[in-house]
């Protein structure tokens, strides 16, 4: 009897120790998974640098040849090669951002402030589905449907607004131009901005809104007084994220834009600009190893640009996003602790 009891207690002791170890092991597994993230990002930077190094510090002669063949004999210097690409990337995505921001704000306000609940539900899901459409389908649609069908519109813009430098020049037909690309990019980043803006607007304190309405404000004045100031930071960060997406977009640009290598503002003329991402995808399959390392170096430039944009988004709204993801997400008033003190458990 004593014997069995003692083995029993040993076995529970063993299993308890195991459990304790299991606990520690489990904790360290999760920690390692977290550290892998750190490792991956370091690896991304390091390997891109390793592969891009020949283009920056390696055999000058080879690099010169690679850049000359990539740029079609235009230049032999890396920065004069990548300059117009940076310009084209920023131009297309910035135009897309400007267009998308206003539409997205309108849709987000419609969903949160105007629409009846069922309609809002359907519309927000439709917008989310738009975000799910693969970029290659946007490219295909843009290249085969949008390009032929938008020419009359661009022609009209060119005729009546040609005095604005952006719309000057001879409108190209087919319009494989920055204008069409920006239109497609607008559609692509619209859902991102819209869904973030929607989430922020939804968390506007009801008290603020009712206070504005109670003072006699109209619906629009209420939005201007309560909703927009409350969501300002979130909207800016949403815009930054949308910009980041547009900067890195490859396929839509590659499939629609007729590339060029100029610092040109003529949106309606083809063969003016090219973006970094589309340039990589277009040139990569036919490049030798020196050419590949130049392209990877341009990819590194793109990485740095999007990194800076994302850091800016992170810094501008560190608070707005992080409070949103904490436990108190369910209570709309808890988003900003200045308004109402919220207990941790809620």
């Amino acid at each position: 009897m004593i014997h069995t009891s003692s083995t029993h207690s040993t076995s529970t002791f063993v299993s308890r120790t195991l459990c304790r170890y299991a606990d520690t092991i489990f904790k360290y597994i999760t920690l390692i998974a977290g550290l892998i993230i750190l490792f991956i990002l370091t690896a991304v930077t390091v390997f891109l640098l390793i592969q891009a190094a020949p283009a920056m510090v390696g055999d000058k002669n080879q690099t010169v040849w690679a850049i000359r063949s990539l740029s079609g004999g235009r230049t032999i210097h890396f920065w004069t090669y990548v300059g117009p690409l940076i310009f084209g990337t920023i131009l297309t995505s910035f135009l897309a951002l400007v267009c998308a921001l206003f539409i997205a704000l309108g849709v987000a306000l419609f969903i949160t402030q105007y629409a009846p609940r069922p309609l809002a539900f359907i519309l927000s899901h439709v917008i989310d589905l738009l975000a799910a459409v693969p970029s290659v389908i946007f490219g295909l649609w843009g290249g085969l449907v949008l390009v032929p069908s938008t020419y009359p519109f661009w022609k009209w813009m060119n005729t009546y607004f040609g005095w604005i430098p952006l719309f000057s020049g001879q409108a190209s037909n087919p319009p494989r131009t920055v204008a069409t690309v920006s239109l497609v990019l607008t559609i692509m980043i619209l859902p991102i901005i819209c869904s973030m803006a929607r989430d922020i607007f939804q968390q506007t304190p009801v008290l603020l809104k009712e206070a504005a309405l109670g003072l006699g404000a109209t619906q629009w004045e209420m939005i201007k007084l309560a909703v927009l100031p409350f969501g300002k930071k979130g909207v800016i960060s949403a815009a930054m994220l949308g910009l980041g997406r547009a900067l890195g977009e490859t396929m839509a640009v590659l499939m629609i834009l007729s590339p060029g290598d100029l610092y040109s503002w003529k949106l309606l003329v083809a063969s003016q600009n090219q973006t970094i991402a589309a340039n990589i995808a277009a040139q990569f399959p036919e490049s030798d190893s020196a050419g590949v390392s130049v392209l990877i170096a341009t990819g590194l430039v793109l990485f740095v640009i999007t990194f800076l944009v994302n850091i800016a988004a992170h810094h501008l709204t560190g608070n707005a996003i992080h409070t949103k993801q904490k436990n108190n997400i369910r209570h709309p008033l808890c988003i900003n602790k200045q308004f109402i003190r919220c207990s941790e458990t809620d």
């Binding site: 459990c19 304790r20 299991a22 606990d23 489990f26 597994i29 999760t30 920690l31 998974a33 977290g34 892998i36 993230i37 750190l38 990002l41 991304v44 390997f47 891109l48 390793i50 539409i103 309108g106 419609f110 439709v126 989310d128 589905l129 738009l130 799910a132 459409v133 693969p134 970029s135 290659v136 389908i137 295909l140 649609w141 085969l144 449907v145 559609i187 619209l190 404000a217 619906q219 004045e221 309560a226 100031p229 994220l241 980041g244 900067l247 890195g248 490859t250 991402a277 990589i280 995808a281 399959p285 990819g299 990485f303 999007t306 990194f307 994302n310 992170h314 993801q325 997400i329 458990t345």
Partner: protein, 314 residues
Amino acid sequence: MQRNGLITSPIRSLRSRQYHDHAMTILIYSTACLALLPLIAILWSTISHGSTRFDWYFLTHNMKGVVGGLYPYGGVLNAILGTLLITITATLISVPIGLFTAIYMVEYAHGGVISTMISFLVDVMSGIPSIVAGLFAYALFSFFFGPGCINGFVGAVALSILMIPTVIRSCEQMLDIVPRDLREASYALGATKSRTIINIVLRSSLPGIVSGVLLAIARVIGETAPLLIASGSVSFTNLNLFNGRMSSLPVYVYNQYAEGMAVCSASARAAVHPCIPGIRMERAWAAALVLILIVLFLNLIGRFISHRFSVSHL
């Protein structure tokens, strides 16, 4: 708060304020209508153009021996299988990493230095342009296995770079909304922390995690640029992830589009199985239709699961 409108409003007449209100209402309603247009247009184009070539033959044949617009019209089987293999591999890589990181962030690190850093890095990682992810995978493998190492697995690594942040974010949210009471009840019964996490927290947030993973898959399954660089394309069906190029649906769509119109002679057009000049565009649309069906299916399933089994319904 009052600096914007109410201070100046006494100067404005009530009529002008109402006029403003109506104008803005109309504007906002019209943007909402405008936002619906692209999705409808894209779906309509894809379905109407894609249905021409979308049939059983197209789904069950690959592109081997297909020349120009001539008779064996070819199909998309190689691309479908490639996409499935690459995406499944990417999922197998990213779900464990993503899930465990999310567990660490929610359950173990309570706002420590490491957790702040990881959270920041996840933000940075979710901003990596897809083509840079492809370049990274290519650079990584060509560093270890020599230049020109392009196969399905490289593509899967590229996709998992894009997938991990999405998985972490959605898992984190799902773990976050598990009520604290459940965890405390489990501790009170004497369960250890790891057991509580596995048996209580993960189990009650499982539907949310599954739906998050499905949405993440739907997001990366349509990625083209990284696969264009890291996996390439090939005309026959390649089922070996580690050897040789591997087609995928998005790259297939792009390649068909990029190759342009086929050249057909008059006699070939009059043959029993005619030469079709626009065959590549038809194939591109049909493959796009397959892709969009897969993506929409995954999305609907994901949303259905998260809607039906969300924590509030427990």
